[in-house]
């Protein structure tokens, strides 16, 4: 091995798999006809997607006056949902990029699905600011291009425009990263297929052969993409937080926002990965590839980032008091004890208290607890964005314009509809591409497979170059 080998190695692939078993297990879900569960899930997701399309048509036809947002609370559900989805879209790149740089092998079991999830979550996130523009047919005005209006340019000093750049860059770079990783696996599917399917996968696998030089370039590309995606993923939520932090609204213009948003994004992203993975591994029978060790590793990230978020909440309160600035103090007093107190306590409970249960090893390694807490965390992170946005705006400078916000059926439909959009895309993905990175799992088999390093290892599994091949050779000859 040319890479460093960690002293403590966990079994990440169970079931005494051979390379062929891995191909077989991971390709089969794309090859057999959909199961009944899949069809039901797809029908349900598609129904919600239909609701989304209807609610969006309604919004565009009638205008955003159909939403509950008003003159005081002008950013409400839409921006809450936007930030929520963008946050969810952070785990994929974190898993594939940062964990690649840290040489964490457990990433190979979950990176493919997490990256796909990232892309779909960013698609969902993008819907909200686009339709919040109102006259959506003019949405292309957000891009600076030579035009016949002057040319009139966009405001490059505005965090909202930075957001446009950050999110479109993030989306397109994540897509490249994901697809380039997918190409060798699509070639594997291609080489097993026949007829029309083979033609289709031939087209999408770009003529991949597995040549040594191509693999070398592929690894070089993956490494550099990981290297540049790491600051990118941190920049995206930093810039999203600038939307608030560069304003002059008490409760928003705090310097803690960038790290606090990034930690929150990773936190919610991992929670969503857990929600999806716990179901996916069961339904597609991938328990040998997405093991309890994988789930535990992700739960450790959740307890860490949840605690960072908790520290950020308390720091905010402390600084608000310590500033001696009454407007700041009022904003935070109002946030905790004001009209939206329930959302603040919901947020505190879901994001700070509940993940602490993961300090217990048994809970961390329990599927049911993981699934339950991942949902709780997702709800909590939604509350966080709602707390930041709606409670702050509801009590602004002028008591005469204080207001209360309630979502209308249109907004609720759009939000639940984006979940339909998300799950529809995810379900299609599980049918057309391997949800676990086949080539990457094969490449760690001999350092993380149970027959090599597990308690019943047939081979002596100590040291970097254990006698994996000699024994095999002896067996063969």
């Amino acid at each position: 091995m040319s890479q460093a080998v960690a002293p403590v190695r966990h079994v990440l692939i169970t079931g005494n798999k051979s390379y062929h078993n891995i191909t077989e297990d991971l390709c089969v879900p794309t090859e057999k006809s959909p199961t009944r569960e899949w069809i039901i899930a797809f029908a349900l997701s598609a129904a919600f997607l239909g609701l989304y399309v209807f609610a969006i048509c309604w919004t565009v036809w009638k205008g955003i006056g159909e939403w509950g947002a008003n003159r005081t609370i002008n950013w409400a559900w839409d921006i809450t949902n936007f930030v929520w989805w963008i946050g969810i879209g952070h785990a994929g790149t974190l898993i594939s990029a940062i964990l690649l740089l840290f040489r964490q092998r457990w990433r190979t079991g979950v990176n493919r699905a997490a990256e796909a999830m990232t892309i779909f979550a960013v698609i969902c996130a993008g819907q909200f600011p686009i339709f919040h523009m109102g006259r959506v047919w003019l949405a292309f005005f957000i891009f600076p291009f030579p035009n016949t209006r002057g040319p009139l340019w966009t405001n490059f000093n505005s965090p909202l425009l930075w957001d446009v750049f950050a999110i479109s860059t993030y989306f397109s770079v994540s897509l490249l990263f994901w697809y380039t990783g997918l190409v060798p696996d699509l070639a594997t599917v291609r080489d097993r297929a026949s007829g029309f399917r083979r033609k289709m996968y031939e087209f999408f696998s770009f003529g991949w052969t597995g040549s040594a030089k191509h693999w070398q370039r592929w690894e070089a590309l993956s490494l550099v993409l990981a290297g540049i995606s790491t600051p990118l993923v941190l920049s995206v939520h930093t810039i999203v937080s600038f939307d608030f932090a560069t304003s002059v609204i008490p409760g928003w213009h705090t310097t803690i926002f960038p790290p606090y948003f990034v930690a929150g994004a990773v936190f919610s992203g991992f929670a969503m990965v857990q929600t999806l993975m716990v179901i996916t591994r069961k339904v597609l029978k991938l328990e040998d590839y997405i093991t309890i060790n994988h789930i535990e590793s992700m739960n450790k990230v959740i307890v860490l980032t949840g605690t960072i978020v908790g520290v950020a909440y308390l720091t905010e309160l402390f600084i608000a008091w310590y500033s001696g600035y009454i407007y700041e103090q009022f904003a935070f007093y109002n946030r905790v004890f004001g009209i939206y107190w329930w959302s603040y306590f919901g947020m505190m409970f879901c994001n700070v208290v509940s993940p602490q249960l993961f300090w217990s090893r048994n809970i961390r390694r329990s599927i049911w607890w993981t699934f339950f807490l991942s949902i709780v965390v997702n709800i909590g992170m939604w509350f966080e964005r709602f707390v930041i946005i709606a409670t702050t705006l509801a009590r602004d400078y002028l008591p005469s314009s204080w207001s209360y916000y309630r979502p209308t059926w249109v907004e609720i439909s759009i939000f639940t509809g984006t979940m339909g959009l998300f799950f529809t895309l995810y379900l299609i993905f599980t049918r057309v591409a391997p949800v676990v990175a086949i080539a990457e799992v094969k490449s760690i088999l001999k350092v993380a497979g149970d027959q090599y390093i597990g308690p019943d290892a047939k081979h002596d599994g100590h040291g970097a170059s254990h006698g994996k091949s000699t024994e095999k050779k002896e067996a063969e000859h």
Partner: protein
């Protein structure tokens, strides 16, 4: 990617360590290896094959630098020459505010530039037909290939002897292209 047809003699191995051993023997015997195909990146293969490190990352740096310059200079030109506007009493050329977009453009150009270069130099594009020797190479076989288009029978026999000595599981001939 060569367009003329090629006759290829190839051996399939069951394990990457067998393949590495065979590649070592082949380079020691000065056999001219056409290519090696594997189902996943095999570490430690590049040096024994004599492959130099990829220079893709240098290009990545250059693309990134172009992106940074493009982003920064465009904003500079727009706000100081083409349409200067005062925002919030700040100078026209307000450099700190340009940093986020400059950064994003750096990443965008580096990522797209490198990816497009990668596919181009590997001869890979949507719809390209794979010059694949065996369907199992993307599954669990490790392939070592020799170009025998203009080889004599004697040479071919020598290579076949090499394959049986290096414990290849299978030896086949296929015409590519």
């Amino acid at each position: 990617m060569a367009t003329e047809s090629k006759k290829v003699l190839y051996g399939l191995y069951n394990d990457e360590e067998d393949l590495k051993g065979a590649v070592k023997t082949a380079s020691a015997a000065h056999l001219d290896i056409m290519d090696v195909y594997t189902p996943f990146p095999v570490h430690g293969l590049d040096p024994i094959l004599g492959l130099k490190e990829s220079r893709l990352h240098y290009l990545g740096f250059i693309y990134g630098a172009i992106g940074a310059m493009f982003g920064f200079l465009t904003m500079t030109w727009v706000f100081t020459r083409d349409w200067p506007i005062v925002f919030g009493g700040k100078p026209y050329w307000s450099v700190p505010a340009f940093i986020p977009i400059t950064f994003e453009m750096t990443v965008l150009f580096a990522a797209w530039g490198m990816t497009i270069t990668f596919y181009t130099i590997c001869g890979m594009w949507p719809g390209v037909k794979a010059q694949s020797l065996d369907n199992r190479i993307t599954d669990d076989k490790f392939c070592l290939a020799f170009d025998v288009t203009s080889a004599t029978d004697n040479d071919v026999d020598k290579l076949k002897g090499f394959f049986s000595q290096s414990h290849a599981a299978e030896v086949n001939v296929k015409t590519l292209g």
